[in-house]
C-alpha cells in the first residue's frame, strides 16, 4: 500500500479559522471603544445562530457535526456578517442574516469548501435588500452622538427596539460618511465642503478610521502568519486607490480622495477578511490579483454611481461568479512547459 507522505506539517482548518477570528479582535475592540458594546451582543447572537444552524444542517445532511463545528468556519462567517451590519439593529436582523448565510449560502451548497459565494456577503445582501431601512440605521460614534447610549441602553434597544426615555432615534444614529457624501453630492455640494462635516475624520469616518486601522493591523497579522497571501489585499487596496485616485485627480470637487475610500466603509475588512475567503475566491496568484482588483473597481463604482452607499457585498458576490473563469484563465506555467 502506497499512502505516503507519512508526515504532515499543516495547521488544521480549525486553527486557520481561529487565527482569522483572533485577527478580528483588534477591530472589534476598536469598534466597542468607538461605538459602544452593542456589537458584542450582535457578535454573540450571530455566533450562536451560526453554530446552531450549522449543527442542525449537518445533522439533516447526516454529516459528522463535531469536526465541522470545530473548524470555526461558521463563526468566521457569523463575525464578518455581524461586523457588517448596524450593531444596534433589532436582534432578529442578525439572526435572520446569519441563518440565511449558513443554511442557504453555505450548507445547501454542500457545506465547507463547496459554497461558490461568500456566505457572509450573501447574508448581508439579503438583509440589505429585505430590510434597507434597518440596515442604514448606523449608530453615531459615541463622541459624536448627542446622547451617547450606554451598553445597557444598546442591549435594551437591540432586544426591545425601545430607546431610553426622551431620546430620539436621530440622536443616536448618524449617516455613515459614505452615505453622507453621497447624499450631499446629490445636493450639488462639493467634496471639500462636505468633508468639513463632523462625521469625517482625518482618513475616513471620524472614529471609524480607528476601527478600519485595527482591521488593517489584524490583516497584517494574518499575512505574517501566512494565513493569507499578499496578493488579495494588495491588489484590492491598490486597485481601489488607483480608480478613486484617477477620479479624484480628474475632479477633486466631485470625487473623494483615495485615502478616504481606503479607510471608509468596509474597505479594510474586505481587503483582509472578506475577499480572503479561500473557498469562494480564486486560487491562482494571478487570479487573486484580478479578483481583488475586480472587487475594488465594482465596489467603487457602486459607491459613486450605485444606489447603495457601499458596494462591497455586491462586488464580492459578482466576482465570486467569475472565479471559475478567472482560475481557468490564470493557470501558472507548469515546470517544463511553455506558457
Amino acid at each position: 500500500m502506497n499512502r505516503s507522505p507519512y508526515i504532515s506539517n499543516a495547521p488544521s482548518v480549525g486553527s486557520i479559522m481561529f487565527k482569522v477570528l483572533l485577527a478580528l479582535v483588534p477591530g472589534i475592540a476598536a469598534y466597542v471603544w468607538i461605538y459602544g458594546g452593542g456589537i458584542l451582543v450582535t457578535l454573540t447572537l450571530a455566533t450562536i445562530t451560526a453554530l446552531a444552524a450549522e449543527a442542525a444542517m449537518l445533522k439533516l445532511r447526516k454529516r459528522p457535526i463535531q469536526p465541522f463545528l470545530m473548524d470555526y468556519s461558521a463563526v468566521v462567517t457569523a463575525w464578518l456578517l455581524a461586523l457588517a451590519i448596524p450593531p444596534i439593529a433589532p436582534w432578529w436582523l442578525i439572526v435572520v442574516g446569519t441563518f440565511f448565510a449558513i443554511v442557504v449560502a453555505k450548507q445547501l451548497y454542500g457545506g465547507l469548501g463547496y459554497n461558490p459565494f461568500n456566505p457572509a456577503m450573501i447574508g448581508y445582501a439579503v438583509l440589505l435588500i429585505s430590510f434597507p431601512v434597518l440596515m442604514t440605521k448606523w449608530p453615531a460614534a459615541l463622541q459624536l452622538a448627542q446622547t451617547p447610549l450606554s451598553f445597557g441602553d444598546q442591549l435594551h434597544l437591540i432586544f426591545s427596539g425601545v430607546l431610553p426615555q426622551g431620546v430620539q432615534i436621530d440622536a443616536v444614529t448618524s449617516a455613515t460618511p459614505l452615505d453622507y457624501l453621497k447624499t450631499q453630492l446629490m445636493l450639488k455640494h462639493e467634496v471639500g465642503s462636505i468633508t468639513q462635516a463632523p462625521v469625517f475624520g482625518v482618513l475616513g469616518g471620524k472614529g471609524n478610521e480607528w476601527v478600519t486601522g485595527a482591521y488593517l493591523l489584524g490583516g497584517l497579522y494574518l499575512w505574517q502568519q501566512k494565513i493569507i497571501s499578499w496578493h488579495l489585499p494588495t491588489a484590492f487596496l491598490a486597485a481601489l486607490a488607483m480608480i478613486s485616485g484617477v477620479f479624484w485627480l480628474v475632479n477633486p470637487a466631485h470625487f473623494a480622495s483615495p485615502l478616504f475610500h481606503l479607510f471608509s466603509g468596509a474597505s479594510m475588512l474586505c481587503a483582509f477578511f472578506i475577499i480572503t475567503d479561500p473557498v469562494s475566491g480564486p486560487t491562482t496568484p494571478k487570479g487573486k490579483l484580478y479578483f481583488a482588483a475586480g472587487v475594488a473597481v465594482i465596489a467603487y463604482l457602486i459607491r459613486v454611481y450605485g444606489g447603495y452607499p457601499d458596494g462591497i457585498a455586491f462586488a464580492v458576490i459578482f466576482m465570486n461568479i467569475c472565479v471559475p473563469l478567472i482560475d481557468a484563465h490564470t493557470q501558472p506555467r507548469v515546470f517544463g512547459h511553455e506558457k
Binding site: R3, I7, T284, P332
Partner: protein, 673 residues
C-alpha cells in the same frame, strides 16, 4: 514587477543557485542514522533475489535449483533493452526459484531466486577493465552485464542512460547527492566515507558520456559530505564542481536538481539527454567504479536502517538479504513498531510484510510506530487555500487536480498536467484538510492509463472481430456450396418421390429461412440446416472469444501484458473447441440424419414436423445440436428440451448483449473523456 524579477534573478545567479517553485522543509531526522559509520552485516542464512528489482523487463534466469553459484556470478541476464542483470550476492547453492513477497507497494508475490549461502563468500574471478583505453561502445555493452541500476530509488537500468553506440550529446553530468528526503542518509554516509570512490566513479561516468562538465549537487545539511567530496576532488585532482543547494524537499528530484545547479528547465516531454544533460545518483557512480575498476558487479548497496530501531545506522547490505537481518543489526525494532516503510516518509511505501529481501531500490528502511508517524485525522473538504499550489515544485494546481481526480474528470486532469506530477507529496504535507492528495493523483493516473489500454484493446478486438466475421462469411459460403453440391448428388441417387428440390447454391439467410421452412424436411434442407447451425455455432464461439479477450484485457494492469496474452490464447482455444464441436454436429447431421429422415415412415415425419412447429412457437430460432442428432424425441422430452434450450439461448443472448452494451458504454465514456 519585471525589474524586481530581474534583480532577484541577478541575486540568484550571483549565488549560483536557481531555486525552483515551491518545495517544503520537513524535519530532517537525519542525525539519528549518521552517528555510526557504515556497518557491515554477517552473511545471512538465505539470500532471496527478486527478478523484479528495476524498471523494465524481468531478466532471464540462467541458473536452476541445485546449482552452485559464486559471489558476483550472473544468475539472471538482462532481457530486452530495458532490463538489468542479477548476480549472486554471495556464494552458495540455488535452493529455490519460486514466488515470494517482494518489497513492492502491491504486496504481491513475484519470482525470486533463493540462494542458500555456504558462508565462504567466494568471488567469481574479477575482471577489472582498462576503461580509459577501451572503446565506449564495448564499455556500454559490458555495462549490460553489470546489473547496475539507478540507486537513488528510480532503479532505471544504467546502461540505458548511456547510448549503446557509445555516442551521446551530453555536455554536463550532474551527480545527484541532494538526498532531500527526511531520514535517508545512505548517500550522505557514502560521501563521507567513500568520496574517493565517488570521484573515481564520476570519471568513468564522464568518460562514458563524453561530458565536459561535472557538477555534484549536495544539500547544505550535509557539510561533512561536501567537505569529504571537496577533499577527494582535490586529492585526485578532478574537475568536479560541488554545488551546495539549500535544503528544500524535493531538491533531489532530477529535474529540480538540474534547475537548481544549472538553471535549466528540462522540457516536460524531453529526457535530460535531449538537452545535453545526464543525472546520476552518487551511489550509482560508486557502483560504476566498482564494476569497471574492481570487476565487481552490482551485488550490494548502502541502506539506512532508521526510525523506530534501537541503533539507527547505515549498512552495506547484500541484495537479497532478509530485511529483518538488517533490523537485527540495528539493535532490533522497538516494542511499539507497527510496520516498516521502504524509502523516506515523503515518498516511501509500507512494506507488505517484514519478510522481504533488500533490493536495489532499498535506500532506506524506516521502522514505523504510531508516535513516529501519526495516523492522519480524517480528511476535511478542500477549502481551496492553495497551500498545495504554493508547495508544488512543478507549479501544478493540486487543488484543481484533486477536484478532477475525485470527480473522475480525467480529461480535465490531463489538461491540468496531471502526468507532470512527480508524486513528491509536498501538497499532502501542507494540506490543512489532511487530504491524501497524492493518492488521488496515483488513482487518476492509473485510471487514465487503464482506460487508454482498454480503448486500445477494444479497438484491436473490434478490428480482429470484423476480420473474423468476414472470414467466417467467406467460409460459410464455401461450405454451404459444398454441402449443397453434395446434397444434390445424394438426392439424384435417391428416389424421385420428393418434390420442391430447390437447389440453393448460396445460403446467406439463416434463421429466418429455417423458421419459414415447412416441416417436411428434405435432404438438402437438412444439410443446409446443419451447415447453418454449424456456422452459427462458430460465429457464437468467435464472438464469445472476442468478448472474453476484450474484457480480460480491460482488467489487466498496464505493465503486465502476459496475462492478456494468456487470456487471448485461452479464448482462441475455446473458440477452436467450439468450432470442432460445431463441425462434429454438422458432420453428424449431414452424415446420419438425412438418411434416417428420408427413410423414416410417415408418422415419424409428422412427429418431426410437430417438433419443429413447437420449437417455433417457443421462439427458438436456432436449432440445437441435440435436436439435430436426435430428431425423433418423444413429445414431452422434446418439449422440455426445447424450452430449456430456448431459455439458455435467451440468457446467452442477453448476456452477450449486456456485455456488448457495457463495452460500448465504456468506449463511449473513453471517447467522451
Amino acid at each position: 514587477m519585471n525589474a524586481i524579477v530581474n534583480i532577484v534573478s541577478l541575486f540568484k545567479s550571483a549565488k549560483d543557485i536557481f531555486p525552483f517553485h515551491g518545495g517544503v522543509h520537513p524535519p530532517e531526522n537525519k542525525a539519528q542514522s549518521t552517528q555510526l559509520p557504515i556497518g557491515q552485516l554477517p552473511i545471512p542464512e538465505k539470500i532471496v533475489l527478486p527478478l523484479r528489482q528495476h524498471v523494465g523487463n524481468i531478466p532471464k534466469i540462467k541458473v536452476s535449483v541445485g546449482d552452485y553459484v559464486l559471489k558476483g556470478q550472473l544468475i539472471a541476464e538482462a532481457e530486452g533493452t530495458v532490463s538489468a542483470a542479477i548476480h549472486g550476492s554471495t556464494s552458495g547453492t540455488v535452493s529455490a526459484i519460486s514466488d515470494a513477497i517482494i518489497p513492492h507497494p502491491s504486496g504481491l508475490p513475484d519470482r525470486c531466486i533463493t540462494i542458500a549461502p555456504d558462508g565462504l563468500d567466494k568471488w567469481i574471478e574479477k575482471t577489472p577493465q582498462d576503461w580509459r583505453n577501451a572503446e565506449r561502445k564495448s564499455l556500454v555493452a559490458s555495462l549490460r552485464l553489470s546489473g547496475i541500476v539507478g540507486l537513488g530509488g528510480a532503479t532505471f537500468p544504467t546502461h540505458i542512460k548511456l547510448r549503446a553506440d557509445g555516442k551521446s550529446g551530453v555536455h554536463t553530468l550532474v551527480i545527484n547527492a541532494a538526498e532531500c528526503e527526511p531520514y535517508i542518509t545512505c548517500d550522505d554516509m557514502l560521501m563521507r566515507e567513500r568520496a574517493d570512490e565517488i570521484v573515481k566513479g564520476v570519471a568513468i561516468a564522464q568518460y562514458l558520456l563524453g561530458a565536459e562538465k561535472v557538477m555534484i549537487g549536495v544539500e547544505d545539511n550535509k557539510p561533512e559530505a561536501a567537505d569529504a567530496l571537496k577533499t577527494a576532488i582535490n586529492k585526485l585532482n578532478a574537475q568536479i564542481q560541488v554545488k551546495i543547494v539549500p535544503t528544500l524537499y524535493p531538491s533531489g528530484d532530477a529535474r529540480r536538481l538540474v534547475h537548481l545547479v544549472l538553471g535549466t528547465e528540462i522540457p516536460y516531454d524531453k529526457r535530460s539527454t535531449e538537452v545535453g544533460l545526464q543525472v546520476f545518483n552518487v551511489a550509482t557512480v560508486v557502483a560504476l567504479y566498482r564494476y569497471f575498476e574492481l570487476g565487481e558487479p552490482s551485488i550490494s548497496r548502502i541502506v539506512s536502517m532508521t526510525g523506530n530501531v534501537q541503533k539507527p545506522q547505515n549498512f552495506e547490505v547484500l541484495f537479497g538479504t532478509p530485511m529483518l537481518h538488517l533490523v537485527q543489526a540495528a539493535g532490533g525494532a522497538k516494542a511499539n513498531t507497527t510496520h516498516f516503510i521502504m524509502g523516506g516518509p515523503m515518498m516511501g511505501f509500507d512494506l507488505p510484510t517484514a519478510e522481504v529481501p533488500i533490493t536495489k531500490a532499498a535506500n532506506c528502511i524506516i521502522a514505523a510506530s504510531p508516535t513516529l508517524f501519526e495516523q492522519p485525522p480524517p480528511a476535511m473538504p478542500c477549502i481551496r487555500c492553495a497551500r498545495c499550489a504554493d508547495a508544488c515544485p512543478v507549479n501544478l494546481q493540486p487543488q484543481e487536480l484533486y477536484w478532477f481526480a475525485k470527480s473522475d474528470n480525467f480529461e480535465k486532469a490531463n489538461d491540468y498536467k496531471l502526468f507532470d506530477c512527480i508524486e513528491c507529496g509536498a501538497c499532502s504535507y501542507v494540506c490543512p484538510s489532511d487530504i491524501p492528495l497524492v493518492q488521488y493523483y496515483r488513482y487518476a493516473k492509473s485510471e487514465i492509463i487503464a482506460l487508454d489500454k482498454a480503448k486500445e484493446a477494444a479497438d484491436l478486438a473490434r478490428e480482429r472481430n470484423d476480420f473474423r466475421l468476414a472470414r467466417i462469411e467467406r467460409e460459410k459460403q464455401e461450405r454451404a456450396q459444398k454441402h449443397a453440391e453434395r446434397a444434390q448428388a445424394g438426392k439424384a441417387e435417391a428416389a424421385k418421390t420428393e418434390t420442391g428440390t430447390k437447389a440453393e447454391p448460396k445460403i446467406d439467410q439463416s434463421d429466418e429461412k429455417l423458421n419459414t421452412n415447412n416441416g417436411l424436411t428434405s435432404g438438402a434442407d437438412d444439410a443446409k440446416k446443419a451447415a447453418i447451425a454449424a456456422a452459427i455455432e462458430r460465429a457464437k464461439a468467435l464472438k464469445a472469444a472476442a468478448q472474453t479477450e476484450a474484457t480480460t484485457e480491460q482488467k489487466v494492469k498496464p505493465e503486465k501484458s502476459a496475462p492478456a496474452d494468456d487470456a487471448a490464447k485461452k479464448a482462441l482455444i475455446a473458440a477452436a473447441i467450439e468450432r470442432a464441436k460445431a463441425q462434429k454436429a454438422a458432420a453428424l447431421a449431414t452424415g446420419n440424419i438425412p438418411k434416417n429422415v428420408a427413410d423414416a415412415a410417415e408418422p415419424v415425419k409428422k412427429e418431426i414436423a410437430e417438433i419443429e412447429a413447437r420449437r417455433q412457437s417457443v421462439g427458438l430460432a436456432e436449432p440445437k445440436e441435440a435436436e439435430l442428432i436426435t430428431p425423433n424425441n418423444t413429445d414431452a422430452a422434446a418439449d422440455k428440451q426445447a424450452l430449456i434450450a430456448a431459455a439458455i439461448a435467451r440468457a446467452k443472448a442477453q448476456k452477450a448483449a449486456a456485455d456488448a452494451a457495457k463495452l460500448a458504454q465504456s468506449d463511449i465514456k473513453t471517447e467522451k473523456e
